[in-house]
């Protein structure tokens, strides 16, 4: 690894651009940020790190005026600021480029750079001058593209850079790059980094968020780690190694992580046909071809950081997204799983990581949500008889300990953990042979977490095949018999969860450098 060590020390004493002190933000039931301090200096690239729910997004949104802060202070160049909206933050010199590029793809590149700042002549906008000026800005960042070309004709990488050029137009002091590299290939990332370095030389502070640790180590001068809404620490890039970083993000010392108990490793009978066999299944841009097998009674854990392709893989197996290569066998018979209905027909169930957008039907009751998958399978004409509905509800409300024990409550009023249990129950009621769980324990409290883990273990013991995805490695270790490790959109290892496997060995596999 090449550490630009000279630069690191150069930025230590640079002028402070933004100083956030004691920032707290809470949402109903969640403390998203708990008195976090955060400092950005001129000419530094500062990475913000943390797993899901750590508070990265919230912090950025506080900095860009999307969320109001409950307490704390934000100083920009020594002046205390209160942002009521995004325009306030922009006028203070804070520009943001989001993962989902916030430009207008219906307009030209030049227009996107110059929108709201067009050069005007006596007859309105002087397009020639406007495009020429846009060109200058683009050139400054080493982008040699035709400003009159439609934005949509360019790759995402170029669009990303155009968005950054726009930030230069508004003369920003701080540039926030939120996951800018998630859909870029290596050479595009290089191009982006070149632009970032140019801006850095112009004394712009850059806040960089990425799930790719290689990139973080390559480009950053400094990093701040958040966990569960709290500040874990601020480090110079040379002062911390990758494994330490991961354990800080996950919140435990490696040694301590290894001590956590786990379900007794069971022997899985792999003599028959696997319940699911996946061969070369992939989709361009989201996951490279993968082989997997899941047997009856087996929990296959998918370990990897966010953005490693674990969710994409799960969605493709289930048919929520279409695969563009590979095939699938269910119990040794070739199967075509290109829609949720087909998967349901093969008794394969999937619970999405996005509980709110892709799980619950918020305005329906717990009972209606619970019966939904069974009902969908039967079609609308054959309503599940009342008695059968009642027995499903009675059985699962009690078996999963759903609280409040009121099937007529609207599901959106339940806590996250209980919503998750209802969603699990929704699928269990269809008696699946394979259950795919994507982050089933995210954002729910410790008690509910343990219950969900126990439930998964019990289901597998009773013979169900499970694919279990979690960013909490100890959780994966606790429930899985086999573990597939994903990194950068590909499967990099598959191991038996033997007694000598611990979080540290998983971290090693996830963090392994240069193997790609």
């Amino acid at each position: 690894m090449t550490l630009p060590s000279r630069k690191i020390y150069a930025v230590v004493d640079n002028n402070v651009v933004v100083e956030m002190k004691g920032i707290s933000i809470s949402f109903p039931g969640v403390k998203a940020l708990d008195s976090v301090d955060f400092t950005l200096r001129e000419g530094e690239i500062h990475s913000l790190l943390g797993e899901n729910g750590a508070g990265k997004s919230t912090l950025i949104k506080a900095l860009t005026g999307v969320y109001a802060i409950d307490s704390g202070s934000i100083q920009v160049l020594g002046v205390e600021r209160r942002f009521a909206n995004t325009a306030d933050a922009q006028s203070a010199g804070i520009a943001t480029v989001y993962q989902e590029i916030n430009l207008c793809s219906n307009l030209s590149v030049g227009e996107n750079v110059m929108l709201g700042h067009e050069v005007r002549g006596p007859f309105g906008i002087d397009w020639k001058a406007t495009h020429a000026k846009a060109s200058t800005y683009l050139n400054e960042l080493g982008l040699h593209i035709e400003p009159r070309s439609p934005l949509s004709s360019h790759s995402l990488a170029i669009q990303q850079l155009v968005a950054i050029s726009r930030a230069v137009v508004v003369d920003c002091r701080l540039l926030i790059l939120d996951e800018p590299t998630s859909s870029l290939d290596r050479s595009e990332v290089e191009q982006l980094f070149a632009v970032m370095r140019r801006l850095k030389d112009r004394n712009v502070a850059i806040l960089f968020v990425s799930h790719f640790l290689d990139q973080v180590f390559e480009i950053s001068d400094r990093m701040t780690i958040l966990r569960n809404g709290q500040l874990e620490g601020e480090y110079l890039v040379g002062a911390i190694n990758r494994s330490t970083l991961i354990s800080k993000m996950l919140g435990r010392e490696l040694a301590e992580l290894d001590l956590i108990g786990r379900a007794a490793t069971r022997a899985i009978d792999r003599s028959g046909a696997p319940v699911l066999k996946v061969l070369g299944l992939g989709r361009k841009g989201s996951i490279e071809p993968v082989d997997l097998e899941v047997y009856d009674g087996e929990v296959l854990g998918l370990a990897g950081l966010l953005g490693s392709g674990r969710t994409e893989l799960a969605r493709i197996i289930y048919g929520a997204d279409r695969a563009d290569s590979g095939r699938v066998e269910v119990r040794g018979v070739p199967a075509h799983l290109s829609s949720p209905q087909q998967s349901a027909h093969h008794r394969i169930a999937f619970s999405s990581e996005d509980r709110r957008e892709e799980g619950i039907i918020g305005d329906l009751t717990v009972a209606e949500n619970l019966v939904l998958a069974v009902q969908a399978k039967r079609g609308w004409l054959q309503k599940v008889p009342r008695a059968q509905q009642q027995s499903i509800i009675d059985e699962y409300m009690v078996a999963l300990g759903i609280k409040p024990n009121n099937p007529n409550a609207l599901i959106r009023n339940l806590s996250g953990g209980n919503q998750q249990k209802v969603l699990l129950a929704r699928w269990l009621a269809t008696s699946p042979q394979l259950l795919i769980l994507d982050e089933p324990t995210r954002g729910i409290d410790i008690g509910a977490k343990a219950e969900v883990q126990q439930l998964v273990a019990r289901l597998a013991e009773d013979g169900m095949g499970v694919i279990f995805i979690s960013s909490e490695l100890d959780e994966v270790l606790r429930v899985s018999q086999r573990i597939a490790v994903l990194r950068d959109h590909r499967k990099v290892a598959e191991i038996d969860n033997a007694a000598d496997v611990g979080v540290s060995s998983l971290v090693e596999l996830i963090a392994k450098e240069g193997a790609a």
Binding site: T86, C104, N106, S135, P147
Partner: protein, 339 residues
């Protein structure tokens, strides 16, 4: 129009260009060109079929007879570009016409009446815009309420048709400039001027570009710090003012204010704008295209009269054309998304 400068790639493109710019047309002009092609094909087909179709008189009347629709389409273009819709235009046109007829009848000078018409249109647009922007009412519903209100107010003004005798108003239509064959009335000139202004505003002002940005991606437009709220209200005000102007033209055309004028005109307007190449989801389209769309509508109407066919074929043909354009637009958008 001057608008072409924006879209057509000039050979001397950006100084930064490394490879020579290819000669190609921006995709947003494709539907407009398709409309032009359809218009030309219809002209030729009609000429071949009827023998004497492409006469100066007919072409002149095509412009003059549809002047009010052009003005409405110009306003509607703003609204649809911003991603909204305005169903109130036909009713507001009828209401302002009615109001003008009444005011003229009781002796209010025409110099007061015409600004009053525009103001009435603007106020109705303002109400709709505020409902849409500040009270989160869907544009469809808000403009529907505006339509109900204007239509009802027509009858409050008068249940009967009111004849207009004011020479200024009538003169807008009856004054024929030009020789006997080629002619243009002040109403036609007003319509063309409105289209030209609309094209200029959309192409050459920051407000115009903001409208495109909002229609393209309102979320992005907001994050880019553009004045989204103000612009969204303003497009409805513009549409309202255009409805007021259209009211004037229509009153001059029919020489009367009548409450049932312009029923269904909002649909004709939307159809003309869409046929003229404006994407209903917003963000893509041109005022010039809407002019073409209105002409296509006019030619269909005239051809059907020439054929002696039932006038109901006009609506059917428009409906089929609208469907064809929407499906094509849908396919274009789908392909763009796949990229």
């Amino acid at each position: 129009m001057s608008q072409t400068n924006v879209a057509a790639p000039t050979p001397t493109a950006g100084p930064a260009t490394k490879r020579p710019p290819r000669l190609r047309i921006r995709t947003s002009w494709v539907p407009v060109l398709a409309a032009v092609a359809i218009l030309i094909i219809m002209f030729l087909a009609a000429q071949l079929y009827f023998g004497r179709f492409l006469t100066p008189r007919l072409l002149s009347s095509l412009l003059v007879d549809n002047a009010y629709l052009m003005v409405l389409a110009a306003g509607m273009t703003f609204v649809i570009l911003s991603g909204g819709i305005d169903l109130s235009v036909g009713a507001v046109m009828a209401f302002t016409g009615m109001l003008a007829a009444k005011l003229l009848l009781i002796g209010v000078p025409v110099a007061v009446v015409i600004p009053t018409m525009l103001a009435a249109g603007a106020v109705s647009g303002l109400i709709i815009g505020i409902m849409v922007q500040y009270f989160d009412v869907q544009p469809f519903i808000a403009s529907l309420a505006g339509m109900f209100l204007a239509r009802g107010l027509c009858f409050v003004v008068s249940l009967e048709a009111i004849q207009v005798k004011d020479p200024t108003v009538l003169g807008l239509q009856s004054t024929k400039l030009g020789d006997f064959e080629w002619y243009l009335t002040p109403t036609g000139i007003i319509a063309l001027v409105v289209i030209a202004i609309a094209a200029w505003v959309l192409g050459y002002t920051r407000f115009g570009r903001t409208v495109y940005a909002i229609g393209g991606n309102v979320h992005s437009a907001r994050l880019m710090g553009l004045p989204v709220a103000r612009s969204k209200v303003l497009v409805y005000v513009i549409s309202g003012i255009c409805a007021g102007i259209a009211g004037l033209l229509f009153t001059s055309y029919t020489a009367a204010g009548y409450s049932l004028n312009g029923i269904g005109t909002e649909l004709d307007t939307i159809a003309a704008v869409v046929i003229g190449g404006t994407l209903l989801t917003g963000g893509s389209g041109y005022a010039l295209g809407s002019l073409i769309g209105v002409l296509v509508y006019g030619v269909i109407k005239v051809s059907i009269t020439f054929l002696g066919a039932d006038s109901s074929w006009t609506r059917i043909t428009i409906g089929v054309l609208l469907l064809a354009f929407v499906v094509v637009q849908r396919l274009i958008v789908r392909r763009a998304n796949r990229h």
